[in-house]
């Protein structure tokens, strides 16, 4: 089995708001192995992006603060590194692409300048070599006429091309980990298919680990090796992708799988999870899904279920249904 590249250990990221504390990431632990694509899936506000931002050291403080836990990257705790040391890793060994490629590119710099910047900064290249490498990268992400694109500005490119450029920038320093936060959500399906293909090729060629954040279970099924499901700030289930889709354990995961309309499989009526995501402010210490759950028991309302493996050592979930002891004490 491949080595662990990143490990989140009991990560806690909280935000202070006038109404109270929001535990956006609440005791989250999971690992990303070398050469693996790990998908973090969940609905808006479940903390999937904040987990990635914590890893990148991008949590704005105040209002946010990482109050506990560790993030180990090759056995070094990223949370203990100085700003200077972190910036040596960030952009070089770990890089990130975002949902909206227009707002993450600088509109007044040419594409070439933006791809060259990390090369000059991290790989200590001179301008000429950086330009050569940048053009290689633009070709690699499948954009024709690379020389011309090198001198273009972001507004001259389409959404799909901008996302390709973001990927080129992210890959410029041969990162060990690529974090992709909803990279295809703002794109059309035919363009999404292109970008997902590109990411798969890159993983094959460069053996980069990918942490892919998405809300789309279809994307998960196509891309993931391993899946982490989050709900209201907590990891509620994790498993290898085949296992998760075959035997989902947590009622939320089951509901998500049933609620999505699937092409060429018409159902009379869609299954829907009743209610809505709970208000994230001052959540109690219980199962956060209890008021939407069909199999809610008394204990779910008062006590948080432990997160652990049940039958299969690789498949963990947090649900009282799989626990022996369910009495309310």
């Amino acid at each position: 089995m491949a080595k662990d590249l990143v490990e989140f250990r009991n990560l806690e990221t909280h935000f202070q708001t006038p109404a109270g504390t929001v535990k956006a990431v609440n005791n989250v632990s999971f690992k990303i192995r070398e050469g693996e694509t790990l998908c973090v899936v969940g609905e808006s506000g479940c903390g999937k992006s904040v987990t990635a931002m914590s890893l990148m050291g991008l949590i704005e403080s105040p209002p946010g603060k990482i109050v506990g836990g560790q993030i180990l990257f090759e056995d070094r705790d990223l949370l203990k590194l100085s700003k200077r040391d972190l910036s040596l890793i960030r952009g070089k060994e770990i890089s990130m692409i975002f949902q909206e490629p227009m707002s993450s590119l600088n509109p007044v710099l040419t594409i070439g300048e933006q791809i060259s910047e990390p090369l000059i900064l991290h790989m200590l290249m001179d301008r000429k070599t950086a330009k050569k490498r940048a053009i290689e990268l633009i070709n690699m992400v499948g954009i024709p006429r690379a020389e011309k694109i090198f001198d273009s500005y972001p507004h001259e490119l389409s959404g799909g091309m901008r996302q390709r450029i973001m990927i080129a920038i992210a890959l410029s320093c041969d990162p060990k980990l690529l974090i992709a936060d909803e990279p295809t959500t703002a794109l059309d399906v035919t363009i999404q298919a292109q970008i997902l293909d590109l990411m798969r090729d890159i993983k094959k060629q460069l053996n980069t680990s990918i942490m892919l954040i998405t809300h789309d279970l279809g994307v998960v099924a196509e891309m993931a090796d391993y899946v982490v499901v989050m709900y209201a700030g907590k990891v509620i289930e994790e498993a290898p992708v085949l296992e998760l889709f075959k035997n989902p354990q947590h009622p939320y995961t089951k509901g998500l799988l049933k609620a999505k309309p699937i092409i060429n499989q018409v159902q009379e009526r869609l299954y829907s999870i009743p209610g809505q995501v709970p208000n994230p402010i001052e959540l109690g210490n219980n199962c956060h899904f209890h008021d939407r759950c069909e199999s809610c028991m008394d204990i779910c309302k008062v006590k948080a279920p432990p997160f652990r493996a049940h039958d299969n050592a690789e498949h963990k979930s947090a649900c009282w249904l799989y626990e022996e002891e369910r009495e309310v004490l």
Binding site: T190, L217, G218, V220, F245, N264, L270
Partner: protein, 321 residues
């Protein structure tokens, strides 16, 4: 088959592009370019396509929220674009629209009970008691609780706001509702709730929908007939079962194969289209899809394919079908 409720013939909507010092018209964005289709009473017609293909413009032009450039839109035999404004106003209660973004389509300073009841006042129901009753009844149908009557929009989540948007459209007992991407901004678990609500309402109130979406799986679930658009033109149209079991146009095939399916064991041949969608201001010659089509030939570059019936009410615009 039941009667035709909405009949769209050769509809065109061009937006001028202005340039130069005098802001003269230098070109046109052909957002909707010669589109014809019919929607029967009680059915839901799905319009799919990628961003910029003109599907929302069609919805707005049918309701005369923008003026057409050419063509006709008949609602129960009446041409909506030639009748007087006053007459159109009388028809408005029958024609409603639900927008995509439930955040920007509600006034943040108006309590939602009033926002829902507003149209009743405008159309002559002035007794506050009756208005309140009707609003509460509609809220109930749309899954909103009575105590929420006096709340402001910011107190609601995305899914609930979309319910408010639907309630606003329904309070006038419409016959025809244009739903413009009503579930695109919502999470999966909420999306399923809204889709079910829309199909319940259709059954209970005999509504006719024009359902605009970029998501083929949602359209397949909700619609009876589906039209596929590309760059302002309809490229294929058929009954749902026919379209999904036997797609004919290369674009429809590519669109279907591009949708990720939540089943990791599935291995399928995927058609990945090369390149981007061309600009609608300067669409390619001949068949507009030829720049990305895997089977394009010289004929496609030169000649516009005819949009024709290939049997079984299946319309397609491609030289090689």
């Amino acid at each position: 088959m039941s009667e035709v409720l909405v009949q769209v013939d050769h509809l065109k909507k061009y937006f001028p592009i202005t340039g130069g010092v005098f802001q003269r018209t230098v070109g046109h964005v052909k957002a909707v370019d010669d589109i014809s289709f019919r929607i029967h009473k009680g059915e839901s017609f799905g319009l799919v396509g990628e961003s910029g293909c003109g599907k929302s413009t069609i919805g707005r032009t049918i309701l005369r929220l923008t003026d057409k450039t050419e063509g006709t839109v008949l609602f129960k035999g009446q041409d909506l674009h030639s009748i007087a404004k006053e007459e159109l106003r009388r028809l408005r209660p029958k024609l409603q629209i639900v927008f995509q973004d439930p955040f920007s389509s509600l006034n943040p300073r108006i309590r939602i009970g009033h926002a829902i009841g507003e149209a009743l006042f405008d159309h002559g129901v002035t007794n506050p008691k009756i208005v309140r009753e009707r609003v509460l009844e509609t809220m109930n149908i749309c899954g909103l609780a009575p105590y929420q009557y006096d709340r402001y929009p910011h107190e609601f989540s995305g899914g609930q706001r979309q319910r408010i948007g639907i309630a606003r459209a329904l309070i006038m007992n419409p016959e025809f509702v244009v739903a413009d991407e009503p579930v695109s901004a919502l999470d999966v678990s909420i999306q399923a709730q809204i889709i079910n609500l829309l199909s319940d309402l259709q059954r209970d109130k005999q509504l006719t929908y024009l359902f605009i979406s970029h998501d083929l799986s949602v359209v397949e679930h909700l619609c009876d007939r589906v039209g596929v658009m590309y760059l302002g033109s309809m490229v294929e149209q058929a009954k749902k079962e026919e379209l999904f079991s036997n797609p004919l146009h290369p674009y429809t095939k590519a669109l279907m194969s591009a949708i990720p399916i939540p089943d990791p064991t599935l291995k399928r041949e995927r058609i990945v289209l090369q390149g981007d969608i061309p600009s609608p201001a300067n669409p390619p010659s001949g068949c507009k899809f030829h720049t990305r089509c895997p089977m394009a030939t010289d004929l496609c570059k030169q000649q516009i394919p005819e949009y024709r019936d290939v049997g079984n009410e299946h319309f397609v615009a491609c030289h090689y079908v």
